[in-house]
Symmetry: D2
Subunit: 348 residues, 4 copies
């Protein structure tokens, strides 16, 4: 633990990245390392009241600011980066959500193009109570209000894409990105296959909470103070983003139509379970079919994201801890130690 590098990074306004790939590294990281970072909300902090309409205060394409990218030393194509979310805490006492014209699941869009008028553009300001761990919804019309549990997550975490591409920070795909999965919460490790030297990992788009599917296209958007433990798994590839908690392993597929996102995640899970349990592919297909949970992440972004989630207790013997070279358990332990200790080594 004494050697664990700790990097603290709160970007200046001009320091955010707006793409996966194509941005110069913000910091270099010698894994394993702790990152204490600040992430701005998806609006770049510009929606601060009910009168701040996205179409007026935001400047396209400067949405979904990324903290990073971080150049992971030693990372090369064919390796996997493990990003353990040790802590995700709202950095403000409020969060914002909106409708955005021609964006979301229950409206036509630029792709699902219709001749109808867009929905009205509205902003909802949510009040966060970090002591009670609640997010307060207040209706725009009438007097209805309710507290929902605060369940902080990052909508976006990813690495530079393959195939020489640079993608908008609004895109989820095989490189991770804007998956908008509530499963990306504290205590979870995210595995991302490396496509370029240094991986160029970044994150952002904190949500104080979000329902599954993110129907209106926008969650309870909030700046975050987040602690990560990052490591490199050499020689292990990861075709699609995978997640691991103490109790579950997960795969995240992103594509359109939504059934393809589902297929990708389930296919990757079948392959992964077969490998972990020493099962024939069809036996793994049967086991996954009966045991899997399939929480939707988003049905509104450039690609839709579907997660396949298997309880480790169904995988038998040591299979549940063997995934990805045991990285989750190792990083979780490092995170636990770190969060109990004052930081030892800081390089900024």
């Amino acid at each position: 633990m004494s050697d664990l590098e700790v990097i603290r990074f709160r970007p200046e306004p001009g320091q955010y990245a707006w793409t996966f790939g194509g941005a110069a590294p913000a910091r270099r990281v010698r894994p394993p390392a702790v990152l204490e970072v600040y992430t701005e909300d998806c609006f770049a902090g510009r929606v601060r009241s009910e009168s701040d309409l996205v179409s007026q205060v935001c400047q396209f394409p400067f949405l979904n600011p990324q903290t990073g990218p971080f150049y992971i030393e030693g990372a090369a194509p064919g390796d996997t980066v493990a990003v353990h979310f040790a802590s995700i805490e709202p950095a403000r006492s409020w969060a914002a959500s909106t409708t955005v014209p021609l964006f979301g699941a229950l409206t036509s869009t630029h792709l699902t193009a219709t001749l109808q008028d867009p929905l009205p553009e509205l902003v909802w300001m949510w009040q966060l109570d970090t002591a009670a761990r609640t997010c307060r919804f207040t209706a725009r019309q009438g007097s209805f209000g309710v507290d929902l549990p605060m369940e902080p997550m990052h909508g976006t975490v990813g690495v530079a894409p393959a195939n020489l591409e640079v993608r908008s920070a609004l895109v989820p795909d095989a490189f991770g990105g804007n998956m908008d999965s509530p499963e990306v919460r504290a205590g979870v490790t995210c595995y991302l296959g490396v496509n370029v030297d240094g991986a160029l990992m970044s994150l952002g788009d904190g949500h104080a909470r979000q329902g599954e599917g993110e129907a209106c296209g926008v969650a309870v958007e909030c700046a975050m103070n987040t602690v990560l433990v990052v490591d490199l798994i050499k020689g292990v590839s990861c075709p699609w983003p995978r997640l691991e908690s103490d109790t579950h392993i997960m795969s995240a597929g992103s594509a359109r139509p939504l059934e393809d996102a589902f297929r990708i995640a389930q296919h990757d899970m079948v392959t992964w379970v077969a490998s972990l349990c020493g099962l024939d592919a069809l036996d793994a297909y049967q086991l996954v079919t009966q045991a899997v949970e399939s929480p939707l992440a988003n049905v509104c972004d450039t690609n839709y994201t579907s997660v396949a989630k298997m309880a480790k207790r169904y995988l038998g013997g040591g299979a549940g801890t063997a995934a990805m070279d045991g990285a989750h358990a190792r990083l979780r332990e490092l995170a636990s130690e770190y969060l109990r200790l004052p930081a030892l080594a800081v390089r900024m």
Copy 2:
């Protein structure tokens, strides 16, 4: 309670229905009433060992036998039938699952047509332990085995379709049918809009358990002994199947592509929440977006099914109990009384 009619019905082999609509009523029911029924498994009981391949032992289209249909007296188009699942118990100590050529999510199909060979056809026999409440999976290759929790459900419950149609028992749609949702479990009330006089409700396709999405196309298929309490809600319509438990209200959309199933369920939930909470549609859209769970049901059937699920505690005041004229609470109470008592009045 003394007036509650109780109908026990275990179909003879020739008495099953194979469609929604188009079959003569098996019994007439004066609501509210208790139904104690037996349902055969989706294979009509013909898959009983690893050598019983569906393509050899089953006779298309005689799959997914329906117990019913039940003619609900007084039911007319524009009304809603409430079907409360009081108890769903496996009728055997074993269950079967299979791959079926060109059926399932991780294979090409007759619709997602490719030139590839089908996957091999395999049967898995599952052992059920009703005392331990477990289903034992045994791999076909190697020695892997694991117990999964028994979580009995009905893949199929529905009424006669609208528009003069008769649909195969394998189809899920606005009339319910083969939704294959694990949410259809004991303790849950299913609401189905009535399309024809008498509604013609039937059910079948019991699963000892099933993962979300039913990836291989077949769950842990099992005959069931099921107790229902059925009632009629006059003058209340229900455009898509809705479900209610003690803690949640749910809508089930069925369509292709999967995002349309998602849209239907979320749209219906937004409409329903707006009505229950007295919210403007866009306020309800915002609340549902942040609070909803979106468990997938099936991504393999004629239509895919997606469920939108809202916790009642987020709906405020009495909204959580006001749904569908309070039918769930009423039927749940009748079910509790009945399950504690010997049956009083039986008509067979």
Copy 3:
């Protein structure tokens, strides 16, 4: 020719069918036979002026009236019915088109559900000039007008479905039905696989013309006087509707999403070409890939329909005339003879 039965059938208002399957035969036909029939337009003739809104004058589900069904004597499952369109002529000097709330490709629908308002409901009356063979479009706003070529077709032709089903006349599927393909024009033979004894063939939904995809959901709808020659091909199956003209063979796939309709049609064409030309499946895949035309039929109905169309001159030797036992050439010859002659034998 002297033995060719000729049936003339103009349904009375109460004699139309509204489904595929489930309707009693209107006439029995001893194939080969000529049918001279009248078909009503998709509105059942109720939209006759700009003030006749579908939502007000039409009565759901009584849309898309079918002339028939015709019981084809001798037809049994596994056979194919050949329907040759000898002549399709508008029965009126006007036709109607409309927008229908929440129906069409450029609007949200009950399945692609959004929270937006529907498009306005409008009627366009088209003037038909059967001498000039034109359809005159007149804009509702402003003074724009233009003549388009009259290209009469039937949106709907089909047989009873398989699997004990009864489907609305608005549905296209493997049984044919509401495919809305401009390829179903005079001079073309349509092949439909038989699912029930007698086949129960019907037709309707005449269009004076239609663009590919039927974007607004409604074509230039017109009652038709149509002459068919119908025959039975014993022992030859037809998994999806096929079409044949003097110059092309075609397959029509119907499904959602649209890529599945495309896959079905292309897959069937690859299989058919392989069989006709004695090619390996992958050789046929290559040839079809480079030679096929892929006209869209509808992207608005319950299922979307995509057609794969191959020029016979690319199929070599006699392959182009061998399709379906040479039925097209035979029926085309019968049609030519019949249209030149007075009818010999009429049974009504």
Copy 4:
């Protein structure tokens, strides 16, 4: 004409671009200008015999080499680049097509993921007869062969994307790219909205011919000698690629699922026709619905591409020639003059 700049550019092996955006300009162009260019085939010329399997001889991501990008002087976001294809001629006497594992419409893919084995990988060598204007198909199994008409086209033409992105040369989207539309043939003008200064236009992926939909994923791939006339339309935007021939205007939508590609193209056509003809949007919707052709381009690439095609003769008065400031007629005239004349000014 005397001032028309002519640029001849045949890239050296290391000079090709592999992306839209992100590549340094190969040449600067002062519009209007003539470009005489050589394009390599999609395999970078590495598939030259039946034994050259893509998976062995090609090096991902170095597929679909682009000639360019060309920096169009004066082009800025909000403008449109007009690319007139004056001549597209095969540069070799042979062309190649293949199956590629897990790529194409009639196979599972990395997105439509299944557990089935991939199709066999095969190469077909096509012989081109530039005098007879034919492409000869020879089956790999058996003796079947047939000549298809040579109809040269470019599968790929595009500009740098918006939103700071860099996309693989295999992607079709709003910036054009790998649309694989047979409509991109000699005599046609392609309009592309400018997203970055200089537009950065490139092209490649010549096909000696291709069926609609490109079912197997690969056309009759051939290096090309192509003559373009390029111009800049200042202050006119173009949201999706548009095409214009002497007889038709066209819009090309690219998305998944395929119905969204269809919607985009039809929506853009409705908007365009409304603007050209002074029609209300719903009147244009009606006219387009009845008059449009909808040729599919590809149903295999990252996005699927659907084209909406309207005959100019249906647009009335001068509308048919007014599109895009009359650029097509102007460039076509320049092309005609140029192709009759020796080049006057060459800068390489």
